[in-house]
């Protein structure tokens, strides 16, 4: 097991490379990355707006963290590798093959077989208990290795999540089994309202795992109100280092980006998101009987009777 301990930031706020820094990405990869990052940002805005209208469930934006999400995900081959998400990695899942319209439909409460992870898409479902996904990722990687598959598993966790016992147990087991798993720790300075310095006295979260220092540039999720705990100056400071701005400025300096391209890219992304949202809205709605689907391969007798009770009742109403 190796941990990367150096800060990997190489772009200044004005988009120039730091002295002596060199990007290891090709121009084509860079252009692809910008598009994913923009898509993430624009989807954040759309989902938040829909949530405010009551059309979307609790949503956790990725604003400010697009570079770490997209940069890490682009290292993977969707046909071969797996993603085990925390919950701010929606765009990584999309790149990995989880259709955006399914994710959107889930956000809209259409949580049925039609919105599940498609067969062949190597993604584990998002789960809510922080860090509990990490030992799953280790087991998955270990099992793939035992079966001689040439896969890597990328597992995400936040600065907050990395304080859980599961984090330590997972990393330790990965080390002993030499499991092909990469832990990506996104240190966005917050766990809801808890600042990084209250989370750990470690000098760097990168000592815990491959670390990205980012900043959560939005609320924790749509139920949150950061004005209660965030100093506006912190947000302003972070905005100056907005990862998307920096890359775009960088590309502009290099003649790879201009207003027209910007406009076009954003338009095509909006069209793609609109199409996904349109499709999402016409996904089948949930039905009460579904409560009893996917509990066991075969429904035990007691549950079969409960199901009858519910559906009998439901049909009377």
């Amino acid at each position: 097991m190796k941990a990367m301990t150096a800060r990997q930031s190489i772009l200044k706020p004005d988009g120039r490379l730091l002295n002596g820094a060199k990007s290891s990405m090709t121009d084509a990869a860079l252009m692809e990355a910008v598009r994913w990052m923009l898509m993430s940002r624009i989807y954040d805005e759309r989902a938040t707006a829909l949530q405010r209208q009551g059309l979307y469930g609790v949503f956790s934006p990725a604003a400010g963290q697009e570079a770490s999400v997209v940069g890490s995900a682009m290292a993977l081959d969707p046909a071969r590798d797996w993603i085990v998400p925390q919950y701010r990695e929606l765009i990584a899942l999309v790149r990995h093959g989880y259709p955006l319209e399914r994710l959107a439909a889930m956000g809209m409460g259409r949580i049925t077989h039609a919105t599940r992870i498609p067969e062949g898409v190597n993604v584990l479902p998002t789960q809510v208990a922080l860090a509990a996904q990490l030992p799953h990722a280790v087991g998955l990687a270990w099992g793939l290795k035992l079966q001689k598959k040439d896969s890597v598993v990328m597992a995400y966790v936040g600065d907050g999540g990395s304080s859980e016992g599961d984090f330590h147990e997972a990393l330790n087991l990965a080390g002993v089994r030499q499991a092909p798993v990469v832990f990506v720790l996104q240190n966005n300075q917050w766990a809801i309202s808890t600042p990084r310095r209250m989370q750990s006295a470690t000098s760097s979260f990168a000592l815990r795992a491959a670390g990205y220092v980012t900043y959560r540039m939005s609320f924790h999720n749509t139920t949150d109100n950061p004005s209660l705990y965030e100093d506006p100056k912190q947000r302003d400071e972070a905005s100056r280092r907005d990862p998307i701005d920096r890359v775009i400025k960088h590309l502009t300096r290099r003649g790879l980006w201009n207003d027209e391209r910007d406009e076009q890219t954003r338009m095509s992304i909006r069209a793609e998101i609109d199409a996904a949202l349109d499709k999402a809205a016409s996904f089948p709605a949930v039905t009460p009987g579904q409560l009893f689907d996917d509990i066991y391969a075969e429904l035990p007798e007691r549950l079969r009777r409960q199901r009858e009770e519910l559906l009998g009742e439901g049909s009377k109403e």
């Binding site: 469930g57 609790v58 809510v128 208990a129 989370q199």
Partner: protein, 325 residues
């Protein structure tokens, strides 16, 4: 007297106890500046300071484990677990450690620790946030399990919990946090554990419930009265200790009983109540004991929860059937 909702009653109880005893402290995720995800600890940091209102790292087991040690040092910790479902992360520190410390040390040490945890469905939360897992702590002797259902009880039971020399799991019904205000005295008062409240008396059927399910029973009672069925409603208030006497005598008077809870049917605390009645009130029973509960499936996604949870309709139907059997 002030009109307070459940959340305000809790906040007020914490404030009163922190003002009374400088060793009382609050710790948990986001309890400081944010005042907790529901604002139950709002204002406490400003008033009582950062040594006594502490945002902890995100690690439930250490919140409980450290509370145990804090208690032994002489502090009186009130730990918040952000949602009851996340007590799973601390499970090994609750029943096996906190609850047993007095026994393990043969009385040399005890743990004056309160664990507060919001729970319950009906507010479209993500997974784990709604799980009604109170019954999982009943097989952990040494800890008390407290389930307030209204603002008055919420304050009195929380102050009792904080002052109790033994550990208490205090479960807050988040669906009714802001449902209604009622008169809640300003000073400190306590409600003893192990005393169920008979909050409505009737002749035909006894409904037994706790926490937010009490509200369901009261709504059902109104509808049943329109049908000419008169019901007793017993609010259990605490599962441990379990007030067998009040439940048995209430059921003896009506001869019929429906137990209502928001946790899944199988293995819920309703089973303990029905089993106790089948043993101790057997000769007074005129009809089968019914249970109205959530189904035996994992708590579903928000759009499905209305079908999953017990409804007023289901309570009414079960009471009608029980009354007529």
């Amino acid at each position: 007297m002030t009109q307070r909702n459940v959340l305000e009653a809790i906040n007020n109880a914490l404030d009163e106890e922190m003002s009374r005893d400088p060793n009382v402290m609050v710790l948990g995720l986001d309890v400081g500046k944010l005042g907790g995800v529901f604002r139950a600890t709002s204002g406490l940091l400003e008033k009582h300071g950062a040594q006594r209102v502490v945002d902890t790292p995100l690690a439930e087991a250490s919140i409980i484990g450290a509370s145990l040690g804090l208690a032994i040092s002489g502090m009186v910790p009130v730990a918040e677990i952000q949602f009851l479902g996340f007590t799973a992360q601390a499970f090994h520190q609750i029943g096996p450690q906190l609850a047993r410390y007095r026994t393990r040390s043969r009385g040399r040490f005890h743990c004056q620790v309160t664990i507060r945890a919001p729970f319950g469905g009906g507010i479209s939360s993500p997974e784990f946030h709604s799980d009604a897992v109170e019954a999982q702590f009943v097989q952990s002797p040494g800890i008390k399990v407290v389930m307030p259902s209204n603002p008055y009880d919420a304050k009195g039971l929380l102050i009792e919990a904080i002052r109790d020399p033994d550990p208490v799991l205090y479960c807050e019904p988040d669906r009714i946090y802001r449902l209604a205000r009622m008169e809640v005295p300003d000073g400190a008062y306590t409600i003893p554990f192990g005393k169920a409240a008979v909050i409505r008396e009737g002749a035909d059927v006894t409904l037994v419930a706790w926490s937010a399910a009490v509200e369901l029973c009261l709504l059902a009672a109104g509808r049943l009265a329109d049908d000419g069925i008169s019901v007793t409603v017993v609010d259990l208030r605490t599962l441990v200790p379990f007030d067998v006497e009040t439940v048995v005598s209430a059921v003896a008077r009506t001869g019929r009983c429906v137990v209502v809870h928001e946790a899944p049917l199988s293995g819920g605390f309703g089973a303990e109540i029905a089993a106790t009645l089948a043993s101790e009130a057997f000769y007074d029973l005129d009809a089968p004991i019914a249970r109205v509960a959530a189904y035996d499936v994992p708590y579903p996604a928000a759009p499905l929860e209305a079908w999953y949870l017990p409804s007023v309709e289901r309570v009414v139907a079960a009471a009608r059937k029980t009354a007529r059997q």
